[in-house]
């Protein structure tokens, strides 16, 4: 589904990613861990097509197509979703209105008819229940006055509504208490499926107790320095990142 080869990328002309190789197949869940500033958010944003985040070498292929030339909205319509580390407030625009416009825009891109008001209401009620979000949140302006946890849950609601093929979650677990964490995991697990893939950027292994990844990668200074299975995350939690750096030094 996602095939990243020797990816070098700059953020507003500052080189951040230094040769990333990553293969994510349909049906898989990948976790990306690593110290602060190692380039995790940058990677997620490059895949999503954020302006200012430029590929300087290498390639990102999604569903067999190089996506460098696609705008952010085209990538979204192709099924790429990014749950933001810092969700943005849009004053005066209700969650509902935004989601309806988003769904219809994606449908239009795919040559499908607009969703009916009744179907939309049914869908959003269902999904709101899944992430245990009260109806009143749907009418409030997007993320405006939401607590940190509510913003993160709102990201998961949006993901659940848009049903992406590739979901990138950037530290959706940060700052959540255990109940909220479970709700987020519930939303993500509901999305898991044969023809979807999920990339979780996280600091903590505790999220991985609820969403069990197939692969864990460690990012350091813009490179994937180690990959493994879930046990790698456990080891990182117990021993931190220093042993990886020691290993790297010994190797060189």
């Amino acid at each position: 589904m996602l095939s990243i080869k020797n990816l070098h990328a700059s953020v507003f002309d500052t080189p951040i990613l230094n040769g990333i190789d990553l293969q994510v197949n349909a049906g898989e869940v990948h976790a990306i861990m690593g110290p602060n500033g190692s380039g995790k958010s940058t990677l997620a944003n490059v895949i999503a097509g954020r302006p200012g985040y430029e590929i300087t070498a290498g390639s990102v292929e999604y569903l067999g197509q190089d996506i460098a030339g696609l705008e952010a909205d085209e990538r979204a319509c192709e099924g790429i979703f990014l749950a933001f580390q810092y969700p943005v407030e849009i004053p005066g625009v209700s969650n509902m209105a935004m989601l309806k416009a988003a769904i219809n825009s994606i449908r239009k891109y795919r040559g499908e008819a607009e969703i009916t008001a009744a179907d939309f209401l049914k869908l959003i009620r269902n999904k709101a229940e899944l992430v245990e979000m009260k109806q009143e949140f749907l009418k409030r302006s997007v993320n405006e006055g939401f607590s940190g946890g509510e913003k993160k849950r709102n990201e998961i609601l949006q993901m659940a509504m848009l049903e992406p093929k590739l979901a990138l979650l950037d530290e959706t677990d940060s700052g959540l208490d255990i109940d909220a964490l479970k709700i987020v995991a519930q939303g993500v697990n509901a999305l898991r499926g044969e023809d979807r893939a999920i990339v979780l950027v996280t600091h903590y292994q505790r999220l991985l107790d609820y969403i069990v990844p197939d692969f864990v990668h460690v990012l350091s200074a813009g490179k994937i320095v180690k990959s493994g299975d879930k046990s790698l995350a456990l080891k990182l939690e117990q021993e931190g990142y220093s042993w990886i750096e020691d290993e790297l030094q010994q190797a060189s």
Binding site: R50, P51, G92, M98, A102, Q158
Partner: protein, 488 residues
């Protein structure tokens, strides 16, 4: 906190510049008209009055205004730049040649009907927006007022002011210039001297007007000025909601529009006045467009009366407009909700005045300014609390939204308080559409244009919700069209 503030845009390189919007109302109607040669003197004023067969009191009124105007100086405003207007190069009267009095639609020139169809304002009653009566003013003359019978059954008078002068001279005499004196300002004096038509509304005691009343103004002829005059009176406990919409053909020359609107609300009455203004704004280099110098003022004359102005201003090369409320009655309420957009080389200087005179009066001001391209948007507001106005309250909120790095937003909230019990609050914000917001919405699948439109409409929400439903939709569409190409 209350002192004048200026915020000039500094902005985001990535929101690229704004291009052309097409002005779809920019066509010209080929129609024979009766147009006076350009120029203004006492004879022209007499001629206008004579053409309309006005009673003596109107001629006297006009002449008095003209003499005042001659002695006045054109105002000079800090944040508006435009070449001097040559008042002698303007024609002060233009009327489509038609039958003298129209009894039915069949007698309206089909070309005129076509014009209004193109503008999306069918005048045939069955095709009209449900529950909206329309008075259409083409250049200087009222073309047709719809639903007159239904309205008169309710006791509501809704007719061109040129007819009211004949049919209800006592009302016109009593109320004309009772809120905006002829010498009030330069443009008001000019209007009083030469106005040709506009709407007259009278809602008798205790009557809730059964439908929305609306007027469409259309400037068609070249080099004509439009000076319409609107007078709305709501007697005790009456209610009316009135809407005006405006368009003009696309021309390279600037055209002058200097209207005067007066509202009078008696005890317990409420008047809601909404404007969706879409005059031709000129092209992206600032060529052409309407100069819109308008005096709008409402008088809350009786206790417990309420006047509310809502405006969405997307057109005009220059807008100079301060709808105001004089809160004379005790417990009276004044409101001002405004969205003003200036794109390309447009300049908007708009705001409101709330004059608190009675006891326990309150006013609310919500102003949303949007600047894009080289647009300059100025909010200029005055809240004045006079000595006897115990417990006056005002809440003002002025928000500016900037798009691009060459536009500007300026906020001048003035206050004058002569009574210590006054409670005034003012909030002001300036924001720009951020890259983060755009990317966020685009990541959800919206195009750049749809994302901008959504952010702008969210910004304007508090004003749009004051508009009647159909017009809120219209206003949103208008903003979308006006901002087309606003992001690269």
């Amino acid at each position: 906190m209350y002192k004048a503030m200026t915020e000039v845009a500094e902005q985001n390189k990535d929101l690229k510049d704004l291009v052309k919007r097409e002005y779809k109302e920019g066509f010209v109607t080929e129609i024979e008209s009766d147009t006076l040669a350009p120029g203004l003197d006492e004879d022209v004023v007499r001629l206008i009055s004579e053409k309309k067969g006005e009673p003596e009191f109107m001629l006297e009124y006009r002449l008095k205004a003209f003499r005042r105007w001659q002695k006045m100086k054109e105002p000079d405003w800090a944040h508006i730049n435009y070449p001097k207007i040559d008042f002698q190069a303007i024609s002060y009267y233009s009327a489509p040649k038609a039958l003298p009095k129209l009894e039915s639609l069949d007698q309206v020139d089909p070309k005129l009907l076509e014009t209004y169809e193109k503008l999306g304002i069918p005048l045939e009653e069955q095709k009209m927006l449900a529950n909206v009566a329309v008075d259409a003013v083409f250049d200087s003359v009222s073309v047709r007022t719809t639903f007159r019978e239904t309205l008169s059954a309710a006791g509501v008078i809704f007719m061109p002011i040129s007819e009211a002068v004949h049919e209800h001279p006592e009302l016109v005499k009593k109320y004309l210039s009772s809120v905006v004196p002829v010498q009030d300002n330069y443009y008001a004096a000019l209007n009083s001297a030469v106005f040709s038509d506009g709407s007259f509304v009278f809602i008798p005691k205790g009557v809730r007007c059964p439908m929305e009343l609306s007027t469409y103004f259309r400037i068609n002829e070249m080099n004509t000025g439009q000076f319409e005059r609107t007078l709305i009176i709501a007697e005790e406990d009456a209610y009316v909601s009135y809407l005006e919409g405006c368009t003009a053909p696309q021309r390279d020359e600037n055209q002058l529009h200097a209207a005067v609107v007066e509202l009078i609300a008696h005890e317990g009455a409420e008047i809601k006045y909404s404007t969706v203004q879409n005059w031709y704004p000129g092209d992206e280099n600032g060529k052409g467009g309407i100069y819109n110098f308008v005096t709008k003022r409402g008088l809350c004359k009786g206790d417990n009366s309420k006047i509310s102005w809502t405006q969405v201003e997307t057109g005009s090369a220059i807008t100079w407009k301060y709808p105001s409320v004089v809160l004379q009655g005790d417990n009276s309420v004044g409101e001002f909700y405004s969205v003003a957009l200036s794109h390309n080389k447009q300049q908007a200087d708009t705001g409101t005045k709330m004059i608190h005179m009675g006891k326990n009066t309150s006013s609310t001001i919500i102003s949303k300014g949007i600047s894009a391209g080289h647009g300059q948007n100025t909010y200029r507001g005055l809240v004045k609390v006079l000595k006897g106005a115990d417990n006056a309250r005002n809440f003002s909120q002025c928000d500016s939204l900037l798009m691009g790095d060459r536009c500007g937003a300026h906020t001048f909230p003035y206050i004058e308080v002569q009574n210590p019990s006054a409670n005034l609050e003012h909030e002001a914000t300036t924001s720009k559409i951020s890259e983060d917001q755009l990317f966020y919405l685009m990541q959800r699948g919206l195009s750049a244009e749809a994302a901008v439109s959504m952010i702008v409409n969210g910004f304007c929400k508090e004003v749009f919700r004051e508009l009647p439903m159909e017009f809120a939709v219209e206003a949103q569409k208008l903003l979308d069209i006006s901002l087309e190409g606003a992001v690269g």
